[in-house]
């Protein structure tokens, strides 16, 4: 059992984020009882360690490479992470981060699906043409 460094909520050992407040759980506080004094200051002391991932480069890559409108919302959510985080709304920042991630995955998956479907289509067409060529040569 380890305790969230932000709100003191007990979380399972493997948890990387607090189930209650969404903050990243610092590994140093594992197994210790939370002390409210250090808990409130830790969050402001090391802001760079706690801010949720923005998934910026993933969003840009899927927008440019997958050629899909799903990449744009991913970038919009990525942009919201820092704003919510500086406002102190870690919950919303974590949600924006998760949304950015999900849109990236959706864009990547649909991009790959189209890519693979196209390759299968070309191979099938090629097969049909080869089949006709074979027939006509007989």
């Amino acid at each position: 059992m380890k305790y969230c460094s932000n709100c003191g909520e007990p979380n399972p050992d493997h948890a990387r984020f607090c189930a209650k407040c969404g903050c990243e759980i610092q590994s140093g506080v594992s197994g210790t009882t939370p002390s409210p004094a250090s808990a409130s200051s830790q969050y402001t002391l090391t802001p760079d360690d706690v801010m949720p991932n923005t998934y910026l480069w993933q969003s840009i890559v899927v927008t440019i490479l997958c050629c899909l409108p799903l990449g744009i919302p991913a970038i919009v959510y990525a942009a919201q992470v820092e704003r919510y985080y500086t406002q102190g709304n870690v919950d919303a920042a974590q949600r924006a981060s998760n949304n950015a991630k999900n849109f990236c995955i959706a864009a990547l998956a649909s991009g790959l699906a189209i890519y693979v479907a196209y390759i299968i289509y070309i191979i099938a067409i090629g097969g049909i043409i080869a089949g006709f060529a074979g027939l006509s040569s007989i």
Partner: protein, 127 residues
């Protein structure tokens, strides 16, 4: 924050995929081979911000930088930004340049990136 570090297995898979794709895009010119076209371009007739990326990658792998810019203006700046962000996120850059990482993760910066992509999208369909 996740994912703080890529596992060796994941890194290996990514590198192998990159090498295979690089080989394909080096050997075949998307201009005159059966490469997947842009769905947006097929459906609307307009160009999307990513149109021309495959041809630009082919040109870039042959070191034709100017040609790559002609096919897709954004590819090279985007690649540079992505490499920088990957370095910052996975190879210790976050600790070494925390201010830069914070700036590049900022709302203002990300909205500027979005604005540039949308402007390019509009501009390339007008000019």
């Amino acid at each position: 924050m996740p994912p703080a570090r890529l596992s060796n297995k994941k890194t290996g898979i990514i590198i192998i995929c990159m090498v295979i794709l690089g080989g394909v895009y080096f050997s075949f010119n998307p201009e005159d081979n059966y490469f997947p076209p842009c769905l947006f371009h097929q459906l609307t007739g307009f160009q999307c911000p990513g149109c021309g990326t495959q041809r630009a990658v082919h040109s870039l792998l042959h070191l034709h930088v100017r040609q790559a810019f002609c096919y897709n203006l954004l590819l090279i700046p985007v690649l540079l930004l992505v490499f920088l962000l990957i370095y910052l996120s996975y190879f210790g850059g976050k600790k070494r340049f925390p201010k830069l990482y914070r700036k590049l993760s900022g709302t203002k910066f990300i909205f500027s990136v979005l604005l540039i992509i949308i402007l390019y999208w509009v501009a390339r369909n007008i000019f």
